[in-house]
Amino acid sequence: MATVGRAALLIALLICAYGVIAAVYGALTGRREWVESARRSVYALAIALTVAFGILELAFLRSDFSFAVVAGHSSTSTPTFYKASAMWSSQEGSLLLWVWLLSLWSSLVVFLTRRRMREVVPWATAVLLGYGAFFTALLVFAVSPFDTLAQPPADGAGLNPLLRHPAMMIHPPMLYSGYTLFAIPFAFAVGALIAKRVDAEWIRSTRRFALGAWLVLGIGIILGARWSYNELGWGGYWAWDAVENASLMPWLTGTAFIHSVMIQEKRGMLKIWNVSLVLATGILCVLGTFLVRSGILDSIHAFGASTLGVPFVALIAGMSLGSIALVVWRRGLLRSEHRLDSLLSREAVFLLNNLVLVAMCFVVFWGTFFPLISEAVTGEETSVGPPWFSRYTVPLALILVLLSGIGPLIAWRRATATNLRRTFAIPVACGVVAFLALLFVPGVPQKPLALAMFALGAFVAGTVGQEIWRGTRARRAMTGEPLPLAVTSLVRRNRRRYGGYLVHLGIVVLFVGVAASSTFQTASDHRMSPGDTVRVDGYDVRYVRATAEVGNDPSGTGAMLSLGAVLDVSKDGRHVTTLRPARSFYPSNSTASGPVEWLVAGEPTSEVAVRSGPLKDFWTAVNPDMTRFQEVIDQGDKAVAADIPEMQQPMVAFRLLRDVIAPNYVENPPPAMFRMISSPLVAWIWIGSLIAIGGGLIALWPAPDAARRRATATLRARVAQDLGRA
């Protein structure tokens, strides 16, 4: 099977090379059969890569350790659920996933544009196949996922325990879908520049792909935050880590692009800005992929150090220089068709929103690469932490929230005083009322930034509510529809607009959750023995008893041993909840340890216990003191090694762990360290994300295409007729 996989990758590389040549030749000569052949090369690429991907996935599911990558990243004891996702924990597998997703999205876009944009599509096809050529060449020549072992081991090293979380099944495919989907507007921007078709057509044709990229990248980021909150054992959801930042940067520029293209569509303005934004987003996506896989920056997420630095840097440099050259070359065509009429206009607000988003991206970029920059300049690696990021991003986020409330309300071209009074009165009142009310909430007035975020959040919620209400009222006045039907029809007929409003609402809810949980969090560490009680943020937490599970991990991660605690949480004498945090231990990757220690010497993970509620989360993690436990294990190893034949040692070691060592821990537990965090409104981060995702899906859903029907009336009447039907 490995041979077929290798051949499929080689065929994929040849298809890319052929497709690039055919597309460029077809574009230069106008011979459509070559353009068509290039387009179909993208489908052929998807077929070949699906074969390669399927073979590797099958090897993981079958635990075929003759594949080096399977032996290095999976094992027979890895649960099937995680075997399926183990592929993208490896560098080879993740690159294959990247290029496979690229081939699928590229196939979709060249299919949808098969009878459109005939000048632009061939160049865009060449760019997409060029991307494909780069990644398949890496897989063929540098890091083949189909390398085989002459003597396959009986068992593999297993999946990194930190990655054994349901979110990790879909987090990487989501991020990579976002990255590869952004390759599509990038490719069409390049095509539009080369073909001199820089009107809004390429934007319309790829708008859904840009929006889809923004959405899935956003989902990927949120899943990563969720994983961090539930798996990493430090109690946070965002650490401004290099790899987190790598996915945030293209999301920020992508957000700016999604907003600014509206100005080009409506007014023919900001053409240079839009192509620059989408080209930068495409480059940042490749940079993001490189950062995750390279390990050039320290990260809690850096799961592999790469040898691919040079080719990636060459690609990023080529993309950057090529993009700059293209924009400069076509600057004459990219002049705006109109000028900004007034600073009090939606265009001006969108422009400001773009500047804020790009400034945020720059801050994140600078903070992320600061260790490399400082090392290059001073010779010492210095990194910046979350407070540095917060100093700049929090004020920018406040401005962004304010603008997300103003943007939907203000008129295009020029807002009048009457217009401003009429549209802003209610939302501003919402913000002011919230501000005044929150002044009476203890602790809030002392935190002005959080207070500002809450008040601005109320302003934006007022904006969205008012917009939906006014739209519904207008719809009812026109059609006489009952209220629920009028709301549905309004949203259905204007999906982009109202989907966007919901996204604004969701993002603001998320920001409010972030502001509240980060500002008013109470966190503390406690060393406790069974029977001890501590007080955290008004909660009394009693360590009731220790627990130990061997080969029976309730969360299904395949842990060999889980040492945990039962915590009774009460408030004012009333029972609130019972929490069961645990620390999971996995078999070691190396064979050097003794038979008992081998069972638990792998990287441990925290199984946190959280009581989530709409107002507050109570989060706990436990870290047992292993000093005495280690002594017992060492004694066990000596006994097993001395008395038991080598073949039987693993089984005896397991029994010793299950029947002696674990019960001993439960009966006579050493003190354990507990981290306890009480955070308000964390749940609203996830709820806000769901609202934003729902809004994104509404905006993404295709509008009814009623205008395709033809009429025989005069042209002017036909416009009215077509509009009336839609």
Partner: protein, 93 residues
């Protein structure tokens, strides 16, 4: 390399070659029609986008973001542009 693997590779090669080469075998006969179809679809997309702009402007007027006077001027301009697109579409038929 076993025979089954060879067979699978050969089958894959055959499939991708068929997918890629088919348009070249068909030749340029239908290219003029394809070009016309592409132009028509571009115009239809432009027309749909123009209709969306007209509806957006109407909604802006109804929700108080555009004055009656501004809306009339904008609507007149957008409808004229829509008419031009329809005229070009008719010329293709």
């Amino acid at each position: 390399m076993d025979a089954l693997a060879l067979l699978a590779i050969f089958a894959l090669l055959l499939v991708v070659a068929w997918v890629v080469v088919t348009p070249l075998r068909r030749g340029a006969a239908s290219q003029a029609a394809a070009r016309e179809e592409a132009d028509r679809q571009d115009l239809e997309a432009a027309r749909d986008a123009k209709y969306r702009e007209i509806r957006d402007a109407e909604l802006d007027r109804e929700t108080g973001k555009l004055s009656e006077e501004d809306w009339r001027a904008l609507d007149r301009q957008l409808r004229a542009e829509a008419v031009e697109i329809l005229r070009r579409l008719d010329e293709l038929e």
